[in-house]
């Protein structure tokens, strides 16, 4: 790929004169912080996005991929960060989807499909039972299914976009093994990640990106994590350790929560935890083990069947969102686009949410626009959000700025309990540090903070205490001193710490 430049419709410059090359049976790592443009350049290679300028040359031939189908025909496959699988179907059906073997050119040949998939999994050493239903598979197997899908399409170049983001540490080891095997049999692999230990473990060469630009290409054997991270961030990262502050009385006390989903599937099984004043409590776990439901139950967005939730000693189990917020709970939701804002609403409307009943902004049902504008401009400047006017649409802000806006909105409640889910997903390093500092400031001011993050390093850095959730249960509790990523990983997989 040569001199690729990509400017998105909203004016974001995602790639700036970016070039990279890939040899046969090589593992090339592409590293960079969130928002460095790694995913964008891969989307361009895979035909999901069109470059604004630049060209792609494959085996000496100039190529132009308008769609992923084009890219696939040229032997390029991609394992997406969010799996593109059909959950109610079997592994075999998912793998052949799009290129199904047929009987008489018409009917789907299920037996043949299964046979081909089994054959494929043997050839590449990716053990999987092809008759399993995808939604019953653990995430690691789902990913394997996704890899098989790409192999089935005869890809020679396989792009992995943050493949370890959703995996437990043990599953990651299996994945890295798979990558090595694939390279051995002649596949070329591009690994996008921001986890440097994975880069060191498997890659042959490494491309470093920062704010859309190519910073360096190095041989992995000739570098180390420290050098790479300095290149990624553009400066030495401050590794200030976080001092705990003294904790006070219990703010949130959750006991014996039980919840079932559709068709009686248990989601929360007797879940108990507590958070005290002046501490950050993290919940670790592979996503989908009940964390979202737990937070939604505490905030009143969902209702559990039984249990008890006490906020400042007051029972709030089963109450509605408004009364729980009034009792002193603020919530930064996991997904800023679907829950944290309305993309078509103006910034001031987005900021006003859950503040619309405050006397300052609301006189007998009439909104005080002057006051709203004044306060929110102040708040956004304090949080260093880059915006042009309070009247612009929330969807026009970049992810990091939108996230800062949501954090600002929730933190301005000065609530006793601050619940934060994925505070820095998809935001750049500057915004990330800023948000971390704000969370710590709230803690130091005496708030109780409950934090959920799928970024384990973030979680371990911030949390004074960590609960690990597995299969709807709290599968262990560790203090900051006891916590190591190995222990957390073990607990995340449903194991115990006895050994």
């Amino acid at each position: 790929m040569k001199h690729i430049t990509k400017i998105y419709g909203n004016g974001v410059l995602a790639n700036d004169d970016m070039s990279l090359d890939l040899n046969e049976s090589e593992i090339l790592a592409v590293v960079g912080e969130n928002g460095a443009g790694k995913s964008t350049i891969m989307k361009i290679l895979y035909g999901l996005e069109q470059p604004t300028a630049g060209e792609i040359i494959l085996r000496g031939e100039k190529k132009c991929f308008r769609t992923p189908q084009d890219a696939m025909k040229s032997g390029i496959g991609m394992v997406q960060q969010n799996f593109m699988l059909l959950p109610p179907f079997t592994v075999a059906e998912n793998v052949v989807y799009g290129n199904e073997p047929r009987k008489n050119h018409l009917l789907f040949d299920r037996t043949k499909a299964q046979k081909e998939v089994d054959e494929l999994s043997r050839r590449y050493g990716l053990a999987i039972d092809s008759s399993l239903i995808v939604q019953d598979c653990p995430v690691g197997l789902q990913q394997r299914c996704e890899i098989l899908k790409v192999l089935y399409q005869n890809a020679d170049i396989i792009i992995f976009d943050e493949p370890s983001a959703v995996l437990t540490p043990q599953e990651v080891d299996g994945l890295l093994e798979t990558l090595r095997n694939l390279a051995k049999v002649g596949k070329s692999i591009i690994l996008i990640t921001h986890k440097l230990n994975e880069v060191m473990a498997v890659s042959d060469r490494c491309v470093v990106m920062r704010s859309g630009k190519h910073i360096a290409t190095v041989k992995t054997s000739e570098t180390n994590t420290k050098e790479l991270s300095a290149m990624m961030v553009g400066r030495e990262i401050s590794d200030a350790s976080i001092q705990p502050v003294s904790t006070g009385k219990t703010v949130l006390d959750v006991e014996h929560l039980v919840m079932h989903g559709e068709a009686g599937k248990p989601i929360l099984k007797d879940c108990s935890l507590h958070v005290e004043e002046g501490e950050i409590v993290g919940i670790a776990g592979v996503s989908g083990n009940g964390q979202t439901e737990l937070l939604h139950t505490i905030t009143g967005l969902m209702h559990a069947e039984s249990g008890s939730i006490k906020l400042n000693g007051k029972e709030i189990f089963g109450n509605d969102v408004r009364s729980i917020r009034e009792a002193g709970c603020a919530y930064v939701p996991e997904d800023r686009n679907t829950m944290g804002c309305a993309l078509k609403a103006s910034l001031s409307e987005t900021m006003l949410m859950a503040h619309q009943d405050e006397k300052e902004f609301n006189h007998n049902g009439i909104l005080q626009h002057g006051k709203v504008t004044e306060k929110f401009n102040e708040l956004l400047q304090e949080y260093d959000v880059k915006y042009s006017s309070l009247q612009q649409e929330a969807g026009e802000l970049s992810g990091g700025n939108l996230q800062k806006l949501i954090v600002a909105r929730e933190m301005s409640h000065n609530a006793k309990l601050l619940i934060i889910s994925e505070p820095t997903r998809g935001v750049d390093i500057g915004a990330m540090e800023f948000i971390h500092n704000q969370v710590l400031a709230q803690r130091d001011a005496g708030a109780a903070v409950l934090l959920v993050s799928s970024d384990l390093s973030e979680l371990l850095k911030l949390s004074d205490r960590v609960y690990v959730m597995y299969d709807g249960q709290i599968n262990g509790e560790l203090t900051r001193a006891e916590t190591t990523s190995q222990k957390v990983g073990m607990l995340m997989m449903g194991g115990t710490l006895d050994e």
Binding site: I7, N10, K344, A345, Q356
Partner: protein, 362 residues
């Protein structure tokens, strides 16, 4: 100075899209007229002369626009919160009918009867809309379908009443109620012309609606529910409360549309008076053309009313069927629904950004 510029810009942001759609609609209409064998320019000239540029026709267009404006506000009230109320017609029928019955039959001083009539009309319209909200809430019956079907129910039930028990016995041909007392007629601006103060009441409702949507907590919460219900719920907005109140408001406004037509122009409730004129549907179009903005809907409604008046005139004078006007209307509608313009705007913005960047590079 800056303030004026800003408010002009705001108005432009509301109006530029319908304007372009209208121009494109007229072009398509011109092609059709050309195919039929007439000169589109002269036809359009006649049409606009007989809708906006002669005092007589202008007043007629403005009179016709009153129920359309108010219906568009009714549609906007519910649609902004994400509830698609297609029942403005039924609600205006019931509201107009209830108000007429009270006005004709209730004894007492004119002032009190008038207030009772207005209140019962609004309550009837609101209650009819609330019923649709209720069956959605309890039995998950889609509001789109229930409100649409309830239009027929309202029409046939009122037709029964005015055909039998409440029919005006003095007229053996027309199926209608008695006339409401003269003292209750809305005052006319010019005698002998049907144009009356109803137009200014409608204008007042537009401002009221603007105030509700932009400056009240109720307007804010319903807008957020419409834009993203999950976000609203997350912020503590009670969904069912928003639904019931917006549907009630929508129904009450639709009832006002019916009452303005009856108390200002027709002075009685007659069979098919709201269905054959399709005020509610024209109002719906006006609301959608203007992207649910009350001020935009006000102008769009007047424009559509003028097209209908002008369309009837060209049918009389040239023999081009009135359907050409309908065709132009529908084409405008289609052009508005195409997201063509939104994309066009985006592309232009992107260009600006690129230019900006280039400027920065120097």
């Amino acid at each position: 100075m800056n303030k004026i510029k800003e408010s002009l810009l705001k108005l432009w942001n509301v109006l530029w899209r319908p304007l372009i759609a209208i121009i494109l609609g007229l072009i398509v209409g011109a092609v059709v007229i050309l195919i039929v064998g007439y000169n589109p320019i002269s036809i359009y000239a006649t049409m606009f002369q007989k809708s906006f540029f002669t005092v007589y026709y202008l007043l007629q267009s403005l009179t016709r626009s009153v129920p359309i404006i108010v219906c568009s506000l009714s549609v906007i009230a519910a649609w902004r919160a994400g509830y698609i109320n297609l029942g403005a017609e039924g609600q205006m029928i019931l509201g107009g009918f209830a108000a007429t019955v009270v006005a004709v039959y209730m004894p007492g001083p004119v002032f009190l009867v008038m207030i009772a009539a207005i209140l019962s009309g609004m309550v009837a319209g609101a209650a009819y809309a609330l019923f649709a909200a209720f069956i959605y809430d309890k039995f998950n019956v889609s509001i789109v379908i229930s409100t649409l079907m309830m239009n027929y129910i309202a029409n046939y039930i009122t037709t029964y009443f005015i055909t039998f028990p409440l029919r005006d016995p003095s007229n053996s041909i027309a199926i209608q109620t008695r006339e409401i007392p003269v003292a209750m007629h809305l005052p006319r601006i010019i005698s002998n012309k049907p144009f009356n103060i109803g137009f200014f009441i409608a204008l007042g409702l537009v401002f009221l609606m603007m105030f509700i949507v932009s400056s009240t907590k109720f307007g804010y919460e319903s807008k957020m529910t419409g834009l993203n219900p999950v976000f609203a719920q997350y912020g503590g907005v009670k969904k069912s409360k928003v639904m019931y109140s917006t549907m009630a408001l929508s129904g009450a406004i639709a009832a006002c549309a019916g009452m303005l037509e009856i108390f200002g122009v027709k002075f009685r409730f007659s069979e098919g008076m709201f269905t054959s004129t399709s005020y509610a549907w024209t109002g719906l179009m006006a609301g959608l053309i203007s992207a649910l903005h009350p001020v935009g809907a006000f102008f769009s409604s007047i424009f559509l009313a003028g097209m209908q008046v002008g369309g009837q005139s060209i049918q009389l004078s040239t023999g081009i069927p009135v359907q050409v006007a309908t065709l132009i209307q529908s084409t405008i509608m289609l052009f508005v629904s195409v997201h063509l313009f939104a994309n066009f705007k985006k592309r232009r913005k992107k260009k600006d950004v690129v230019n900006l960047k280039k400027a920065g590079d120097k």
